[in-house]
Amino acid sequence: MDQTDEQVRLLGEDGTLLQHDTYKVDLTDEDLCDLYRQLVVVRRIDVEGNNLQRQGQLGIWAPCLGQEAAQVGSARALRPDDFVFPSYREHGVVYVRAGMEVLSVLGLYRGANLSGWDPQRHKLAQYSIPIGTQALHAVGYAIGAKWDGAEVCAVAYFGDGATSEGDVSEAFNFAAVHSAPVVFFCQNNQWAISVPLAKQMAGPVYKRAFGFGFPGVQVDGNDVLAVYAVTRAAAERARDGAGPTLIEAITYRLGAHTTTDDPTRYRTSDELDMWKAREPIGRYRAFLERAGLWTEALEGEVQAEADRVAAEVRATVEHMPDPPLSDLVDHVYADPPATLMAQWRQLEEFEAQFQAEG
């Protein structure tokens, strides 16, 4: 799906600041520069993820290349006590929300954990790999928060492919009926592995919201300022008790679906080149330059921070120990069945033979 007139944009493709009747940029110069830092760091984490997979340090990686603005812009618009329900490609959201907890994500893709973080610590749910299922968790959380009188929202991240899943439609309807404080954030990156948008749906995602009885808005997902403004407004609307909003952020998955995927089998280099020209970080830097905020010093600081994070990611992953064997059984139940514990003792007995020989 190409960009449309209905799409909210605050940045032209050359970085020009555009005026919009509803959505404004109200970030300080410092915040605008920090946004740039986050975009660059997220891209670097993603590069490291790919590299570490190629070096055999990760089993697989799901790149977020090209989607940095959609992820960083939306995550930055949230408050610490909002609750985020990511899919499995939201490394940028994790970084903005939880900083180096992103290392747990690398652990997941290394095969060292199953997400492993405490979802309450950063109000960040586990990665959800079954497509679209997490949208319902966001609705449940939001309904509970509303009952508690808490001024918070829940945000469900999912992709264009997920909108074909029943759970996402069920989530839209349930949220609408309960006027639940939810922001549904769809990163429409044009491809669900090899299936293009035209085979996934016949109408734009954001318009579905109206059928369910709440507003939908399409935003240029490669325009970090527009994504920020639109998400902030939707989150405020939710917290104010006005119910859910569906945001469709039009972006593009510049990388493969995962490192096991070969996109040359299904998409053209012309298409890729077109979207590379629209990639979000260059556009944002052009904006900073026009605004007089970009300096060599800023670039130096940002690149140094990216280098530092990349080094930490590499070092941590390369030295990440295998989990203890007890991780197999320790967390399955609060109160584990005796039959499971008997299996565990048997496994320990089996393993002990080799340690004795060792």
Partner: protein, 325 residues
Amino acid sequence: MAQITMARALNTALRDAMEADDRVVLLGEDVGTLGGVFRITDGLLKDFGEQRVMDTPLAESAIMGVSIGLALRGYRPVPEMQFDGFSYPALDQIISHLAKYRNRSAGTQPMPVVCRIPYGGAIGAVEHHSESPEAIYGHTAGLKVVTPSSAADAYSLLRQSIESDDPVIFLEPKRRYWAKQEVDLPVSTEPIGKARVLREGSDLTLVAYGPMVKVAMDAAEAAQEEGVGSLEVIDLRSLVPLDDATLVASAAKTGRMVVVHEAPQFLGMGAEVAARVSEAAFFHLEAPVLRCTGLDIPYPPARLEEAHLPGVDRVLWTVQRSLDF
């Protein structure tokens, strides 16, 4: 002592749990104004309000997914699946998330969700209303699977389930909803994970749960009267965790065992019990553990269900096969 039905005991358990803890909430199809199609939630909407007794949209996956989200917010949801055969749309949420959440959060995130499901046949229902899906849930690590056979256990097991930090699939034997028992509520019975020897015997052990416990007890009574033998009857009460110790001790005592369930035989609870008893009580057994179960078929039309479901006569026939071995 009062004569009360299992339905009333379940209703009272929900009421008492909601009074004890205001984070306990009910949600499901028709659970509010109607009080549930089996009236298990009767009167609760009036007393606790719409926030705690929620009539949901007709979407089982949503009921379960929303329950998971509520649990993440600190609630203790008790979702109802209206019938066994309609719990399947929620399987992805149950298997992929509900059962795994604690494990996927390295033990940090409890999932105190009790999914109530009326199950089993013998009520003359149209298709999809008489299924016994316990093996599906029992095969899913992370879940507990509990099924009462009496009003007292219905009350106590439901209260315990709601207090559990592990997710529980609570299977209610719908043919026993209106069976009465002398009991004063509240009542506290054995903990989840303990089976109960309902009747002592010396010649053979009948193992049953939920709807088949009454059938097993009737069969044991008939066996006594007809001089077939002295049958011990075990009510499992909890399928996960399974009370291995009580099963093995009984098999060691009687030397013969017949497992009775409505669900299809293949990969069913009977297979699990037989394997465990064979492994742990092999030299005590006088005969292989036999199974008296539903056939390995889609649930049949109501006018054929009597032949499909184990009844007293087929149980006794299976008992005789074991005794004759």
